[in-house]
């Protein structure tokens, strides 16, 4: 599981389009964070989190195991255009990632919700959310 989560983090942080739009934070990392952004980080940035990890029963004995993950993403932007562009980059990053997560191999990934734009409670920032279903096997 850890290898899979690391591969998702790498997929988003090493994506050149996300990096070019979001830039780096004060620690020199692309602004793509799991669960919560760093304090005082400025938009645009990406938040992603694992909604659920479902351990499917082994198939064909114990030699073949499937792991499904539901991943929620939020593309935070200073305006609607920026947030939607970042959401598009996130989807492309998920599609293009190599998911090197030995011993796990990527079987498929697909977006399972329509992206939607939401206002923020306290600021003028805008977020576009989308959820993805990733299936790995080993």
């Amino acid at each position: 599981m850890k290898q899979i989560i690391d591969s998702i983090r790498r997929a988003l942080r090493s994506d050149p389009k996300i990096e070019s739009l979001c830039g780096l934070d004060e620690d020199g990392e692309t602004k793509a964070y799991q669960a919560m952004a760093k304090t005082n980080v400025s938009a645009p940035y990406v938040i992603w989190s694992i909604l659920s990890g479902i351990d499917s029963p082994p198939v064909y004995g114990d030699g073949y195991v499937i792991q499904d993950l539901m991943v929620a993403t939020s593309a935070w932007g200073r305006n609607s255009t920026e947030a939607w562009q970042l959401a598009e980059f996130i989807q492309e990053a998920f599609e293009e990632a190599d998911y090197a997560a030995e011993p796990w191999g990527m079987m498929f990934n697909r977006r399972i919700s329509f992206p939607r734009e939401l206002p923020d409670r306290d600021t003028n920032l805008v977020q576009v959310t989308a959820d993805y279903w990733l299936r790995f096997s080993r």
Binding site: A37, L51, M70, A72, R121, Q127, T129
Partner: protein, 155 residues
């Protein structure tokens, strides 16, 4: 099982005539009644089982969503409701304004809990209480759908 029979049914001779005959073909489907009875049974069972599955799934997602909420005023927890807008369609809606503590219904904040707020200032992470409820229920729904399909095949 219905079957179709198609063929030529002989060439009867006319009395006194030397040549000529009519040609009769027969097309018949056997077992239509039995087939229609089975289809009606499939229709009935599918409607009952899919209707039950969709309703039950909505109830389970509703309960899981409530369970995923950390109650403060209780308005969001009691504000998770299900509705039945069309046959086989159930919706689950969370609204803090629909909660059971009306005196504390001051503004709608369900989406902020579900999707989080920005971290500029006092931000909150996304709890995803609705999406987690859906994601956790989905595998069971898929298994149930597969079982219904197998049941229908056996009819």
């Amino acid at each position: 099982m219905a079957s179709v029979n198609f063929g030529t049914l002989g060439m009867p001779k006319r009395p006194g005539g030397a040549t000529g005959s009519s040609v009769i073909s027969k097309v018949a489907v056997y077992g239509v009644e039995e087939c229609l009875i089975k289809l009606a049974a499939v229709n009935k069972v599918a409607r009952i089982e899919l209707g039950y599955l969709s309703h039950k799934s909505a109830e389970i997602i509703q309960e899981k969503a409530k369970h995923n909420i950390h109650p403060v005023t209780g308005n969001l927890e009691t504000g998770v409701t299900i509705a039945h807008p069309a046959p086989y369609v159930w919706t689950i809606e969370a609204s803090s304004m629909a909660g059971g503590v009306p005196e504390k219904n001051s503004y709608e904040y369900a989406s902020f809990v579900e999707f989080g707020t920005s971290t500029t200032g006092h931000g909150y992470p996304s709890y995803g209480f609705m999406r987690r409820a859906y994601a956790e229920t989905l595998p069971d729904i898929m298994v149930a759908l597969k079982n219904i399909g197998e049941h229908l095949e056996r009819l």
